[in-house]
Symmetry: C2
Subunit: 231 residues, 2 copies
């Protein structure tokens, strides 16, 4: 199947208390995009967090570091100003997800408290307004051990499986698949970023053409400590 | 910009010595896809490795493990049958990239010896045949620490920057970007996988709509050990 990824333009700066689903709907109109069944609306958490009031004053480096410490459930590694930590929700990322880019000077944006729930709320509003059967993915931008550069991953989802489990299926040679558990919401998060353009700060996109349904959670992707070789 | 991802269907089973670029061109014809300037042809390394003869007999688990040991330059962790190792080219992945899925029974497929070079060769052939200015990305499917499930990443590239460096650019608020180095070829690799469908074993796709040019290498993404907190 062919996939299309369309940026949602025209979403203004988001402030605490804003109706984000409403702003996305207006952006869809500005972008002349009509949602169809099975469309996946991908939203960067930055605007979700802002709408939910997850912004704190961070006038200096010390305040910023204190915020990151507060948001961290546990710390895996530290080096200089960088802390790799697990958030309350379970995600492992730099500075427990506390970020100072794309937020006004002197502030820092935190991750949503429950980003799966945030995705679900936005989905329900979009489905009510459009009458379509949709999915929503909330993303953040993570670094990776061993590989330079950042990629977007899913930290919230509604209306999709989090993992595509192909175990038991056979490959083209009739052999049972070894490579089998695809982190499909992370793949969708990464793909959507291609249409957003980091410097332009387009905070949402539509991924069209995937025929998936399910009710996974982004927290399903957190590898349990006992399975994890790199804690 | 909107992005399109089209699967390249009709590529047959690939055998050592096959002209992979020729098979991709035939697949493009079968799929009724005409390449345009700036198209990115994404190819799973499995077919690249097969065409390059990087297949070895692996009739049993012991032979398979020996192959993985041979392909590993160094080993980061072991647990049971799983070994996380660095390949000669520098990539860190399970079993040094030696894989038994999508290959005939009793065989294992190794990574290309120099997958950046493989990408370059395929690109040159495709450019000669089509008269278009193209890019090629060679992918593999990697696991990640901390996050369950697999995603495709780039292990070879030609005609693209490996990293988009947005440092010095400002975000929507006029503030200098903190999140700045995007691993764009990994993002492209992940996105292309959406159109391939693991169980169908479509080994290539076209990513269209990105306006990027450069001459990066996938090995640029290997984080130097002294920067890496998780070796």
């Amino acid at each position: 199947m062919s996939i299309e990824i369309h940026p949602i333009r025209g979403i203004p700066e988001v402030a605490p208390g804003d109706d984000l689903a409403g702003l996305i709907l207006r952006g869809l109109e500005t972008s002349r995009l009509d949602l169809v069944d099975r469309d996946i609306v991908v939203v960067t958490h930055k605007v979700v967090s802002k709408a939910e009031g997850r912004i704190e004053p961070a006038p200096d480096d010390r305040t910023y570091r204190e915020l990151a410490e507060r948001e961290a459930r546990s710390v895996l590694r530290r080096r200089g100003d960088l802390m790799i930590a697990q958030t309350e929700q379970g995600f492992i990322c730099a500075n427990a997800g506390v970020d100072r880019s794309n937020v006004e000077e002197g502030s820092a944006v935190l991750l949503p408290i429950d980003s799966d729930r945030s995705a679900h709320r936005i989905r329900k509003r979009l489905e009510q307004a459009t009458g379509r059967s949709l999915a929503v993915v909330v993303t953040d931008t993570f670094g990776r051990p061993w590989r330079r550069g950042l990629v977007d991953v899913a930290i919230g989802v509604s209306g999709l499986p989090s993992i595509l489990d192909l175990r038991g299926q056979t490959d083209a040679g009739g052999r049972e698949m070894y490579v089998t558990e695809i982190a499909v919401i992370d793949v969708i998060a990464a793909a959507a970023d291609l249409a957003m353009g980091k410097a332009e700060s387009i905070p949402a996109a539509v991924v069209r053409g995937l025929d998936l349904s399910g009710e996974g959670r982004a927290t399903d992707l957190v590898r349990p400590p006992e399975e994890d070789l790199f804690r």
